[in-house]
């Protein structure tokens, strides 16, 4: 069985008002008045294979953290089934908690700024079950891995955000668990440290670890993930292999700036089999499809109808897919 299997997970949060409203609370308790709920996850299902990096992409408030917490056994969903490392989400969630490693973007707030890096980690080491005799060696080992071993007697208050995140990563590494749940591990971090963490994630995959990576850095997801789920307002909009998701709207995009756009031109271009989609914006045409090989044909066709004032071609990125999916969704929401 796969290390992560979830099915129809739905999570609703109570919408809390500011302050304490006795009347309202009492009414809700007596079921006279209905609770207001916010659906943070709506029937989410997927599975992650061993050794895979699974990306969860979505804008702020999409439900990424909610999903990560459910996978860690720290948050109970209202509906759905899940098994993490073969443990049942409800019955065995204590075992789930100790079989996954969770790393959060600001997770270093657990460290005490008045204690050295070493002394901070020592407690979390023994909490993992390291014996007093082996904890020092293990801490030095993980600090070497993240490149902090020379700073082991420094205090975390003197560390930059990037180094603090590395310290947090070191804490994670004190225990050896098969699944890593990473919630925006590179946000607020300089490019150099972020690159280090990304390399590290690749390393985890090599070592056979299963990784779930929540991020809104599309480029990062594109580079690291084998599979991607795009999440918005608690709904999965797309779920596929990274390559397939990227190709969803065509491999390449040709942007042509023209003097004017005529219906004949559009008809002409869309008649080609290699064109998958055309988007028209004022005097700009965006042509999606298998463009590279057929560029001369396309340019010639355009010239037949009008003058070209600018051309640009690029491979479609996750960014394009993401923006398109999210805005499509927004549009349908407006129409409703």
């Amino acid at each position: 069985m796969n290390p992560i299997e979830i099915e129809n997970i739905t999570k609703k949060y109570r919408v809390r008002e500011k302050g304490f409203n006795w009347k309202k609370n009492l009414k809700q308790l007596l079921k006279i008045e209905k609770q207001d709920y916010l659906t943070a996850l709506n029937k989410v299902s997927f599975s992650v294979k061993k050794g895979e990096i699974f990306g969860i992409l979505g804008p702020n408030g999409a439900g990424k953290t909610t999903l990560i917490k459910i996978l860690a056994g720290l948050l109970l969903p209202e509906e759905g089934k899940a098994a993490i490392n073969n443990y049942d989400l409800i019955k065995d969630r204590e075992k789930i908690r100790t079989s996954v490693n969770i790393l959060m973007s600001g997770g270093w707030i657990i460290f005490d700024y008045k204690l050295s890096i070493y002394n901070n980690l020592k407690f979390w080491g023994v909490a993992e079950g390291l014996r007093l005799g082996e904890v020092k060696e293990r801490i030095e080992e993980v600090l070497k891995i993240v490149g902090l071993h020379e700073k082991k007697d420094d205090f975390p208050e003197n560390l930059s955000a990037g180094l603090r995140q590395k310290m947090n990563l070191a804490r994670c590494l004190l225990s050896d668990r098969p699944v890593y749940l990473l919630d925006e591990p590179t946000s607020n971090i300089d490019p150099y440290s972020a690159e280090f963490i990304r390399k590290f994630i690749k390393e985890m995959k090599k070592n056979g670890k299963t990784v779930v990576l929540a991020t809104h850095n599309l480029w990062e997801a594109e580079m690291l993930c084998d599979k991607i789920a795009i999440l918005n307002r608690g709904n999965i909009l797309a779920l596929d292999e990274t390559k397939a998701i990227k190709e969803r709207i065509g491999k390449e995009i040709l942007t042509v700036e023209l003097e004017k756009i005529t219906p004949g031109l559009i008809r002409g271009i869309s008649s080609f089999g290699f064109v998958e989609k055309i988007v028209e914006e004022k005097n700009i045409l965006k042509i999606y499809g298998n463009i590279k090989r057929n560029m001369p044909t396309l340019i010639d066709t355009c010239r037949k109808y009008t003058n070209i004032t600018g051309v640009d071609m690029k491979e479609s990125s996750l960014n394009d897919v993401f923006l398109q999916l999210i805005t499509e969704k927004e549009k349908t929401m407006v129409m409703k």
Partner: protein
């Protein structure tokens, strides 16, 4: 991948936790100098009050009477406040989630925290007695039967732990996210007035005495004073009654406290409020 710790590993956690707290404590040298000065001043205040009060019926010298009250109060306040205070710290620093995902789990963590706070309280109590006896000349005879004080104190701590846990559960159940909550605060504040820490409860108006008769600490404080000041022993019926009363209190309050605390954690798991920031 470990799911639980062995007994020796739990002891290891406790040991490292105590070391960590001691290290933090020593880093604030000034603050612990100040806290000792404050204790010294408190004892001095009662020493001078004693000059006016002198003897009180049944118990003798007021200064020795109140020293015992202050000492027990240390353990009481610690027990009533630490669970809630720890919840508060764990919530704001995201410790709770990380502890839940470690094989150490909450029980071992709380045991470590409580061990530290009782060691700290014991150090304060020792300081009270050293100052009281050697600086201000308090006289204690410490009879041979004085050992019964220890089981009484332990029973008192167990029954108040129930209230401490109920207080901590309010952090989640009633969403009391400050470091004060009405139940624990009420009991801690009231016991200063009615439980006989500073004066015998019999001077209180009759209706207020009723409250003092409900609280387990009233009985424990009185019994400990009888043992230390009046040489009473385990054969005395009032001491035996106190012990029975404390056992009954513990049997009711401790499981209730644990039940409510667990219900609180479960509520937080549903609401997603185990941690503040993430």
């Amino acid at each position: 991948m470990k799911h639980a710790l062995s007994f020796m590993e739990k002891l290891g956690v406790m040991w490292v936790y105590l070391g960590r707290r001691a290290r933090l404590w020593f880093r604030f040298k000034i603050s612990f100098v100040f806290s000792f000065i404050a204790m010294f001043v408190t004892i001095a205040i009662f020493y001078f009050i004693n000059v006016f009060v002198g003897e009180i019926p049944e118990y003798g010298n007021y200064f020795t009477f109140v020293l015992i009250g202050l000492a027990i109060n240390q353990y009481m306040q610690t027990t009533l406040n630490t669970y809630l205070g720890t919840m508060h710290n764990m919530y704001w620093s995201n410790w709770l989630e990380i502890i839940l995902t470690s094989p150490m789990r909450l029980k071992t963590f709380f045991s470590s925290v409580m061990t530290w706070t009782y060691l700290y309280a014991t150090m304060n109590v020792a300081f009270y007695f050293v100052i009281g006896i050697f600086v201000f000349g308090a006289k204690f005879t410490f009879p041979a039967t004085a050992w019964i004080v220890i089981p009484i104190l332990i029973l008192l701590i167990i029954s108040l732990s129930g209230i401490g846990l109920i207080s901590a559960s309010m952090f989640m159940l009633a969403n009391a996210k400050g470091d004060i909550e009405p139940i624990g605060w009420g009991v801690a504040t009231l016991s200063g007035l009615v439980a006989g820490v500073y004066f015998p409860p019999k001077y209180l108006p009759a209706p207020v005495q009723l409250i003092s008769k409900i609280l387990p600490q009233t009985y424990a404080i009185d019994a400990i004073r009888r043992i230390l000041l009046n040489n009473e022993s385990i054969s005395s019926p009032s001491i035996q009654l106190t012990i029975i009363y404390l056992i009954v209190f513990s049997i009711i309050l401790l499981p209730l406290g644990m039940f409510m605390f667990n219900a609180g954690i479960r509520k937080a798991e549903k609401e997603g409020t185990l941690a503040r920031w993430m």
